[in-house]
Symmetry: C2
Subunit: 529 residues, 2 copies
């Protein structure tokens, strides 16, 4: 049964007066549960509990935090069919996708657990004392990454599990040693409640402090705003629109103490089809692009929203086949009505631009949340003069940019803003010939893909899911992969500290047997002093 | 001969109409050289050159960049007495201090060179392909830190060499692969010109591109403002006042693409004297504090501006001796008249506060730039209610906070804002007994020092010179030590890239023989695929 309450640490609370429901997608039927928006008192309580919990939680060992994360994963799996059904209903996403997302979510939690068990992530660095150095002795200095304090996570509409309540933001913030307060997305408050309950249960079972996790229902902006402005909140994570991310970022800069907002916002993920590669299989490449474009109704943050080619016979053939493939695509249900309406309006608008030529739309008309796949074309030089043409249209839409030659290609690539990814489809000869062009687009992306589509973001060590502004608010960090933990820590140095005071990672004996950088060299050895 | 011109890459330029001079300190005599402020055209030229240079400079190998940094150090040393004399004259600092600062500057450059020669700093991380994984294969993903683009460095008034033209900011930005544009501090434009010339010469000698370094004279805010707002500038470093740092930070947030501003601003660096330690040697501790306080006329960013004790007989004895020691201190020349005037006004003001008791001033009156050392006292509870009492007074001033007991000590420590450092003077028994209090202050500092004074910032691997806001704009980074390089890079991931396209750090063969994280484990082995 869905209770609709806020989860304040180990308590349930429903003191507010504003309530809301969630709806099945695409049918739009009211789903069970009336959700009570957190009122000011409850927001304050969640933060106060998080602050108190932080004093305890930050002292938990890596193994203790790992056990907490593993138990969260177990508890989410134990929710079984109830979670899958609710998430499918609230998002309209098919069961296979939701099951996959659950696997990604629990996999992420367990990956962060293994990171904590391994212990190396904290970047322990030691410079030992040089008491005899002249003119002045060197003290003993040791540094490591430590948590920052309560983190607020805004859940994402397009990934109700993997980028939401127990998603990568929460997992990495908890792994780092920070309490988390989730601001619930109103479209999947039921899914959130189930997962948030699982986290609270895991916290109790593993002896974590009351307040290490809270979940606040919200349908109005005020809840999120109060959280971001609260002096005890130290960091914010968000996945969503450029407008939403930018608003939170600006809010956080207005505080007496500005705090980081890690907002993953949007990206057109340009796909560059280089000539020799294109010549090898224009029709097949067109089919691949069309299918990547419509994956998840075009709502992945790495949807290929722009395709760049250089004029040639093969490019014409590619364009023709792409148009045919787009016609064959079947419109899929989008996540909610706002996204569908926005998609429909924006595609209509772009076709009215004088520089833009409509190439094709799906033969099936869009209807009831189902966005109609479409593709348009613009000449390279027109794009260079009006790069705003390529602003993201969230959904199954791509813009084909056709360049007159290699020079124009470089200019086109130089005109792009920050992107999560770019893809280069190229033979080795293409890569060599167009190296300067590729390095141009590399400068504005977080991940550069060769001969692959941008959809599909591995959760691993080497992933960089974060590009220069405006694709995120801070391209120096990733929101996917183990390095996501680096968003919620800061380095602290200890000078001449007694061994007993030092965290385990920095103690003489190296009880965790981790790799440490000692006097500039990596070592697993203990320190003798 | 001082030419007074702007250094735009390999050109000298003086097209502007505003000129200024520098003055000897403390005498105030005009020094040779008329400096021409950069005009708008010259600012634009420096940025355009930096942008063009970036395309070349970012492709230089670690060894090439290391050779550039080592040559800068050599060229600075080759300036010999001319540099020392000019820096002493412009800053009023004694020769020993300036010689020491030069050693720190060249040492930093060579440390970054050795970091580049070693090559590990770029955090090469590789997850190899898993072509047979089900349900979907894993691509090959490789990530490393890469430069961000042109960096603007504002030189600091209190360190004319080590935190200025070729100081830690410039050294780390160049090491990372970014061109640097220096905005000159008008009080030591002559010192800057000599050092900037050395950098330009080193760039020519080592084959670095024209524009990898520029230096712009400025006496008005407009030069710095134009630089921070320029779309091709990607990062900013600043050391100075809270007001100055905050202004630049806010300016950078107003850009279409916000950029990071690493401003090191101010800090009172609380020193906590715990009871057992205090009992052991109250008089000696008082003498140590007094001397640290007056070091460099109190103008180090780690000056001990606040001392915290718990009421006791030993504390009273400490207070009495501290007062005596302060009386004996001889006022020293401050860096320039604004600092001196501000110091004098602020100390006069604090003594008028009802909660504050003046304990002692130097027996020697302040005069002509020489700030009069002073110490005041406030009760713990009064500080908790009015923490603004402890706002930094830049100069040889300390505030003694006397707590009524252990409970009040914790409340006092919880009332501090972000600090570069805190020092705990304590026996091991004190550390154990007051662990909670120490962890409270640890939460707001970048470096926690045991039984030492905060002055003295080692340039090493484990240094963290950067604490939470407002001591810096971003406590997740350090401005001293090798990790300062992390301010000017971002991670970029390459997916399924041809080996030939990859940077050396990520190539299969591991030609640099660096440690890499491969499939989660550290390794120096090549990759077989």
């Amino acid at each position: 049964m869905i209770h609709g309450k806020n989860i304040l640490g180990f308590e349930l609370s429903a003191k507010g007066e504003t309530t809301f429901h969630t709806y099945s997608s695409p049918a739009g039927e009211v789903l069970p549960g009336s959700f009570v928006q957190a009122n000011a008192e409850e927001v304050e309580c969640a933060v106060a509990k998080a602050k108190a919990a932080y004093a305890v939680y930050k002292t938990k060992s890596g193994l203790e935090k790992a056990s907490f994360l593993r138990t969260i994963a177990d508890e989410i799996e134990a929710l079984g069919a109830e979670l899958i059904e609710r998430a499918c209903a609230e998002s309209g996403l098919p069961e296979g996708r939701i099951t996959g997302e659950r696997g990604r979510t629990t996999g992420q939690l367990r990956l962060f657990a293994s990171l904590l068990e391994d212990g190396h992530w904290a970047e322990a660095t030691i410079d030992t004392a040089l008491p005899d150095r002249v003119p002045a002795p060197r003290p003993d200095i040791r540094k490591m990454l430590l948590p920052v304090g309560p983190v607020v996570v805004f859940t994402a509409s397009n990934f109700p599990l993997a980028f939401s309540t127990a998603g990568g933001d929460t997992a990495s913030a908890l792994a780092a040693g920070n309490p988390v307060i989730v601001k619930v997305h109103p479209y999947h408050a039921g899914t959130n409640e189930l997962v948030a309950g699982a986290i609270a249960d895991a916290a109790k079972k593993t002896g974590m402090p009351d307040g290490v996790f809270s979940s606040l229902n919200a349908i109005e902006f005020s809840v999120g705003e109060t959280l971001v402005l609260h002096p005890e909140v130290k960091s914010v994570a968000f996945t969503g629109s450029f407008f939403g991310g930018k608003s939170l970022y600006e809010l956080a800069q207005k505080r007496k103490e500005p705090i980081p907002v890690f907002a993953e916002m949007g990206s057109v993920n340009p796909v560059i089809l280089l000539p020799e590669k294109l010549l090898s299989a224009p029709a097949q490449l067109a089919a691949t692009m069309a299918s990547s474009l419509n994956m998840g109704a075009g709502q992945f943050c790495t949807n290929p929203g722009v395709i760049v080619v250089v004029e040639s016979e093969a490019a014409s053939s590619f364009q023709a086949t792409l148009a045919e493939e787009i016609k064959k695509l079947v419109p899929q249900a989008m996540l909610h009505n706002n996204i569908y309406k926005n998609y429909t309006t924006r595609t209509e608008q772009i076709f009215t631009k004088t520089q833009v030529e409509k190439l094709a739309e799906s033969d099936t008309e869009g209807s009831s949340l189902k966005g109609r796949p479409a593709v348009a074309r613009v000449a390279g030089w027109d794009f260079v003069q009006h790069p705003e043409i390529a602003e993201e249209i969230f959904g199954p839409f791509s813009l084909l940019i056709v360049c007159s030659g290699a020079d124009e290609l470089e200019k086109v690539l130089a005109a792009f803003d920050g992107q999560l990814t770019a893809s280069v489809l190229a033979t080795n000869a293409d890569v060599e010939k167009y190296a300067t062009a590729i390095k141009t687009i590399q400068e504005v992306v977080g991940r550069l893909i060769f001969n692959g589509v941008p959809t599909g973001v591995e959760v691993c060590y080497a992933m960089q899911h974060g590009g220069p502004y405006p694709s995120t608010t801070d391209g120096r960090f990733t929101s996917v992969g183990v390095d996501a933990i680096k968003r919620f820590v800061r380095p602290v140095a200890f000078q001449d500290a007694p061994d007993a005071y030092l965290p385990d990672e920095l103690k003489d004996a190296n009880p965790l047997k981790i790799w440490r950088r000692i006097n500039s060299q990596l070592s697993q050895e203990p320190i003798k002093r």
